[in-house]
Symmetry: C2
Subunit: 219 residues, 2 copies
């Protein structure tokens, strides 16, 4: 029972730090995405494709979260955008305090869109608000149709679902309509995109939506 | 800092319960696998294929762990083996106490091989010993080559790596030799199998190995 109390304290502390982050982001007119998924669903490739598509129109910065290695930061840095790597050293999620430290390394005056790539994990990151405008959950078609039902907290708290690797649909026994149906059963308000980030399929539609969110001052 | 102390207490308590489980498993001559992976890597399909292949030779029981739903238990139950579903209700991993409760529902006298399917998560389950003989980590080829480096604790603590969905290799930019190289960099002792569980490719080799582990009294 004491564990529950401790967890609540951890979450309360995180929520207070997230509120501070949200205030900082709003003051700087930033749109902030918290990108979540299973390991290997394609978050980093989606970030690369998004930067490549929007680079001339939107000033983007990235915070990379990983249990180990700075492989993802290296990949993103090749696109010439500011990137900060958080290594959690075994930790299963980012929290608002870690993000605050990372954001301190960035010049927010020259950023419109901040993408935070969370640790690959469909469970724990659902509970930790980072101060983002929205959670974007990436699901690979190869993961099957049942993930929204099996990891409901994440899909309930997300604003956007990106169904990635649709180029592999001919080779897997997965119906993308059933994924959508399950996702909307958990969260009817989800905005859904279908992409194949490696071949840039669906990236223009996703990026147009991002640009309109930026122009609406969604942050 | 108090959090670290609490975590340690949780792990110490878990380790004590895991030792009890291990004693119970040994007394009953059971081989127990703790099956771990990202969501959607194919753990349940691998269990189905393993049961289909070994059913006439080995008495198998399954404990299913999920954040929500009993979809996996329903799938496995169709094969006519005893199965117990643990729903963690948001919890990101199984622990030894939950497994002890689940195993209480099984008649261990008529079981040779117990497969525990953990929650789909490459991070948290690495820290929680369930009393198993070995952790078996399943990695889908679609997850890319860098996962052993990015989630090293899991690969270090596993005895077996099953690289699944090798039938999708022609359609993804992934070299299975690089996956192996990264995995063995983290854990040189890993026993590696390549499978496509949906089409049963590689399942006979994996099952033969399991049978020899059973006959060696690996439990």
């Amino acid at each position: 029972m004491s564990i529950v109390t401790i967890e609540r304290k951890v979450l309360e502390k995180n929520d207070a730090l997230a509120a501070t982050n949200r205030h900082v982001f709003a003051r700087n007119g930033l749109l902030v995405l918290n990108l979540v998924s299973s390991p290997g669903a394609g978050k980093t490739t989606l970030i690369e494709a998004t930067i490549a598509h929007l680079k001339d129109r939107v000033r983007i910065a990235v915070v990379e979260g990983d249990v180990q290695t700075d492989l993802d930061a290296q990949r993103v840095a090749r696109y010439g955008v500011p990137v900060v790597q958080i290594v959690t050293n075994g930790g299963c999620h980012l929290d608002a305090g870690l993000v605050a430290e990372a954001v301190d390394q960035l010049d927010l005056d020259v950023v419109d869109l901040l993408v935070i790539e969370n640790v690959g994990n469909l469970v724990c990151p659902a509970n930790f608000d980072l101060g983002e405008a929205m959670k974007v959950v990436v699901l690979s078609t190869t993961e099957g149709v049942d993930k929204p039902l099996k990891y409901p907290a994440m899909f309930r708290r997300a604003s956007v679902l990106i169904i990635n690797k649709v180029d592999l649909l001919p080779y897997v026994d997965v119906d993308v309509q059933v994924i959508k149906q399950h996702a909307r059963q958990i969260n009817p308000a989800l905005v859904v995109f279908e992409t194949a980030a490696t071949s840039r399929l669906g990236i223009p539609e996703w990026c147009d939506w991002l640009v309109s969110a930026l122009s609406r001052g969604h942050a």
